[in-house]
Symmetry: C2
Subunit: 189 residues, 2 copies
DNA sequence: ACCAATAAGACGACCGTTCATATTCTCAGG
DNA sequence: CCTGAGAATATGAACGGTCGTCTTATTGGT
């Protein structure tokens, strides 16, 4: 058994700092302090700040729980709705202050780092694909009240969600998310 | 008549830098270099970096051309569509790399500066109100193909647009905006 | 005793901001 | 029309601090 490593604590601390203050708004010092380790230790585990951020993004993507979109035990429409409700509850935990890390990093780092832009892109694409697949099930079940294709609708819903989350962050309220659900319900039922 | 001032050049340069690299990603030095003036000159015209950013935001809000949403000479639906098309053409000018400054600053600075968060909030609210008013005209003309209220739809459309713009920034393509227009056309016609 | 993980501090560069100085413009008074 | 005092603006160096990163010495487990 290796000596208890601070690597996990560092990723956790970095996720918290990046999510709250953004990439450029967070210093290595902040992360180290939050993790309770000296600054110099960070580079024992990560080659650079950007490498650390990349790991944070990977973790965040996993935490979106895309598996619940593939759980055939639940009917497609409630399943999709529950997914967005889960994301909403995640946002509410921090009073809607943090927003979605895909959106935050996408806005802040797309022009700074192609690697990061790629990570955000593929994260969003994976998510969109999963949403689209649920919508295809819904269509097969006759639960799609629109002539739009599942693909068109999936792309749009994910983007609309990101926009609503951003607005929720700016207004510090759930209202934009409620607005999303109202329109969501007018599309699928 | 005052001596030709570098103030304008500074705001322009700051807008460019902030839009491209974000607030925390831009240094006073960058702005000064872009404007072609020495670094020290910046503080002759602005009390702080944040004050400069505030001025940039004010300018950006004006440049959104909300007046075109109030031009009763054009029918409401084409008017609204033309508005979003104008925004899209603005984004295309920079290969979709820059995104919307409301979205960028909202994501990056909401937790950093309450003043900035307020500016983004009121900018988006003003915009949303103008959009909603056009939608009310459209409803009166029987051109709204949805049971949603103009207010619900206005809020949603603005948020969905912001999300689409963000996605366009990440993918560096117009595709998400096209997706927005498809759904837009399914709502109003 | 060996070796990887850790800690601590130092690196040069740049951060946002301030200040003392130099320059330029405005406009009285002669 | 000229002059020169005074206000406004421009300048670039310098401030203390923090940035991301690296080097070096020390620690602790096998």
């Amino acid at each position: 058994m290796p000596r208890p490593s601070v690597r996990e604590q560092l990723v956790d601390a970095a996720a918290e700092c990046f999510h709250e203050r953004g990439y450029n708004g967070t210093g290595i010092q902040d992360i180290a302090r939050t993790a309770g380790v000296p600054k110099g230790s960070v580079y024992n585990h990560f080659a650079s700040k950007e490498a650390l951020a990349a790991e944070v993004m990977d973790r965040y993507a996993v935490s979106r729980k895309l598996e619940m979109l593939r759980d055939k035990a639940v009917a497609p429409v409630p399943r999709l709705r529950a997914h967005f409700e889960y994301l909403a509850s995640d946002l509410k935990q921090f009073s809607f202050e943090r927003g979605c890390m895909f959106g935050n990093f996408g806005a802040e780092l797309s022009n700074h780092s192609d690697a990061m832009r790629g990570k955000v892109d593929s994260g969003l694409t994976l998510w969109t694909t999963a949403v689209t697949q649920v919508l295809e099930e819904a269509r097969a079940a006759g639960a799609l009240m629109t002539s739009l294709t599942p693909d068109q609708l999936g792309q749009f819903l994910v983007n609309a969600w990101e926009g609503a989350v951003l607005r929720a962050k700016v207004t510090r309220s759930r209202t934009p998310l409620d607005g999303f659900f109202v329109v969501f319900d007018s599309f699928v039922a």
